[in-house]
């Protein structure tokens, strides 16, 4: 892995700022944009250049950005569908397991059978919703790798503005296409500012 050791590195016509401890490994290169529109067009160029381990960062979800980055639809919905099925079957098991087998119950002269199913619907419905919603939330956390204590991008002080009104692209050094020279040239051509080499935390190993 290449390392940047000078506090400011001179590359042809531009300088690269440094973020994070320089003795640690390089996480990637980051660049800042001022608007959603600039970020959107820059993302299209990074996508066309063939990078895979990179991300655009923005204060809010940008409409059409998935396409501009070449990302597929999130498959969280499939997880939630499974969660819903689990919820529905738990309700069936709970209701008929207890009312038909463990503690057979005759309510208003009606035993549990095909014709009395409608009275069991509300709880089936509620548990389906409950399990789906739990899957949606915790599945989203899992797919996003949340919660996590820290991330190398947080070593970059300008990055604090990502939750406010600034927009960023970071290409990771672990990308197969990553090369310090070429990636720097690509990022410089995107019209952003504050090109920065972001490092891992000192103790972190990759």
């Amino acid at each position: 892995m290449e390392k940047i050791t000078n506090s400011k590195m001179n590359m042809k016509n531009s300088t690269i700022a440094i973020a994070g401890p320089t003795q640690a490994q390089l996480f990637g290169l980051g660049i800042e944009f001022q608007s959603a529109r600039d970020l959107y067009h820059a993302a299209q160029k990074v996508r066309d250049a063939g990078y895979t381990r990179w991300d655009t960062y923005s204060p809010f979800p940008i409409h059409g950005m998935d396409e501009a980055m070449g990302l597929q639809k999130s498959w969280l919905s499939a997880l939630v569908f499974i969660g819903g099925l689990v919820g529905l079957s738990s309700a069936l098991l709970l209701e008929f397991g207890t009312s038909s087998f463990l503690y057979p119950l005759v309510v208003a002269g009606k035993p549990t059978n095909l014709f009395t199913i409608p009275a069991f619907f509300p709880i089936m419905f509620e548990l389906t919703i409950l399990f789906s919603a739990l899957t949606a939330t915790f599945g989203m956390f899992a797919l996003n790798g949340l919660p996590r204590w820290n991330h190398p991008v947080f070593n970059w002080d300008r990055f604090m503005k990502v939750t406010e009104d600034k927009f960023f692209i970071a290409i990771e050094a672990s990308d197969r296409k990553f090369s310090l020279e070429e990636t720097t040239a690509l990022l410089n051509s995107l019209g952003g500012s504050h090109l920065t080499a972001i490092h891992h935390d000192a103790e972190e190993k990759t």
């Binding site: 608007s35 959603a36 529109r37 959107y40 991300d55 655009t56 960062y57 923005s58 204060p59 809010f60 979800p61 940008i62 409409h63 950005m65 998935d66 501009a68 990302l71 639809k73 999130s74 969280l76 919905s77 939630v80 209701e95 207890t98 009312s99 463990l102 503690y103 119950l105 309510v107 009606k110 009395t116 009275a119 509300p122 709880i123 419905f125 509620e126 548990l127 919703i129 789906s132 919603a133 739990l134 949606a136 939330t137 599945g139 989203m140 956390f141 797919l143 996003n144 949340l146 919660p147 996590r148 204590w149 820290n150 991330h151 604090m160 503005k161 990502v162 939750t163 406010e164 009104d165």
Partner: protein, 475 residues
Amino acid sequence: MEQEAQHNSAVQTTHELSSSKHNDIARPPLVLNKRTMGWISSYVSTIVESKTPLWWYISIAVTSPIALITPLLLIYLVSTGVGVWGNNSPVAWAWDITNFVFWIGIGHAGTLISAILFLTRQKWRTSINRAAEAMTLFAVVCAGLYPLFHVGRVWKVYFLAPIPNSNAIWQNFRSPLLWDVFAVSTYFTVSVLFWYTGLIPDLATIRDRCTTKIKKFFYGILALGWRGGNRQWRHYEMAYLLLAGLSTPLVLSVHSVVSFDFATSVIPGWHATIFPPYFVAGAIFGGFAMVLTIMLPARAIYPQLHDMITPMHIDKMCKVILLTGSIVGYAYLMELFMAWYGANPFERAAFWYRAFGPYWWAYWSMMFCNVISPQVFWFPWCRKNIFAVFIVCMFVNAGMWFERFVIIATTLARDFLPSSWGMFHPTWVDIFTFIGTFGIFGTLFLLFVRFLPMICMFEVKAVLPEANPHYGEDH
């Protein structure tokens, strides 16, 4: 050269045409005064970051002792016996279930704003959904207390949970009361998940802005390490969409299930198929009134919120109140019609006693507050005048409480046999327990305003014109 100039002028003309076309149907901006993204973050976060204002201390000094009344009286209730409440043999549900239905109904507006208006792409919801969702949670907290203690022996409340016990008894899953347990607990859980999911990006904003170490730690933990990368937003947006899609049938089901508590009985006045839609419309109606009841003072205290909670927002909420209030009015009239047309003497008697029996004052208060008072919103002046809006909302809040009282108390007080008729008189414990729930609600809301972002910042930013990736381009 000439060709190019011609082309340019042609482009310009079409642009002008299209822009003038846009002007014809121009919608009012969602955020006034062309505020920037930075302004939104800093303004909303300042409410959390700045020194605690004096009014906040004064308000919480008022609400928190009131909030304390409820737990103290509940301790009194449990240690003395259910006799300290005014519930009696015909009117067994009395104030407890009245207040339960009142509070749970209020919650519905929050979920409606956050879920149904999200699915129907009503972008104006963005500036009010956070506070409305918080209101939902706090209202459900207040609501949940009542059935919990209304079971009588609260220390046996785990009997409601489907867990193996030494008596080898299981619940009756065909009972509407057990449906209610599942519906309300699911509703609370899903509302918490939805609210927290929506908060994560905004908690990250506060984390990145705050200066003290304690705050950074606190908000950092709550923000879960959110980075705002599009690879995160992709799953996040899907999760939010799914939660909205799940909450929509859920919110309609919760009050329907609540209405089943009544409708599946054989009591005249309760045994009606109109109950589920009528309850849902009433819940939305009362909930929107409560949203306005708390948003209008918040807007008065923080004048800058005027740019985000605009007169257009108030206007639209008033229209929702008018619509749902009219649906509720229709349901009242239809109940009367069915009682007459159904030709069941007990049903007819039940409604006769509602209007002209010993609780006539509750019935006519309900009619005035819920049916007559929101009709003033037909006039644009009333929707624009903050004071008029606030007064009508107070009427609606009171009216919705009367509605539940009318449904429960008057019906139970006069059923089939005159020998089992009775009256309900609230005791001082009933009254102060109810007053205390307003303290709980107010205290929780004040804590929310102080420590969490009151407005969903990232969503408001996303509805600004410059959030569009094609902003300023010709298409």
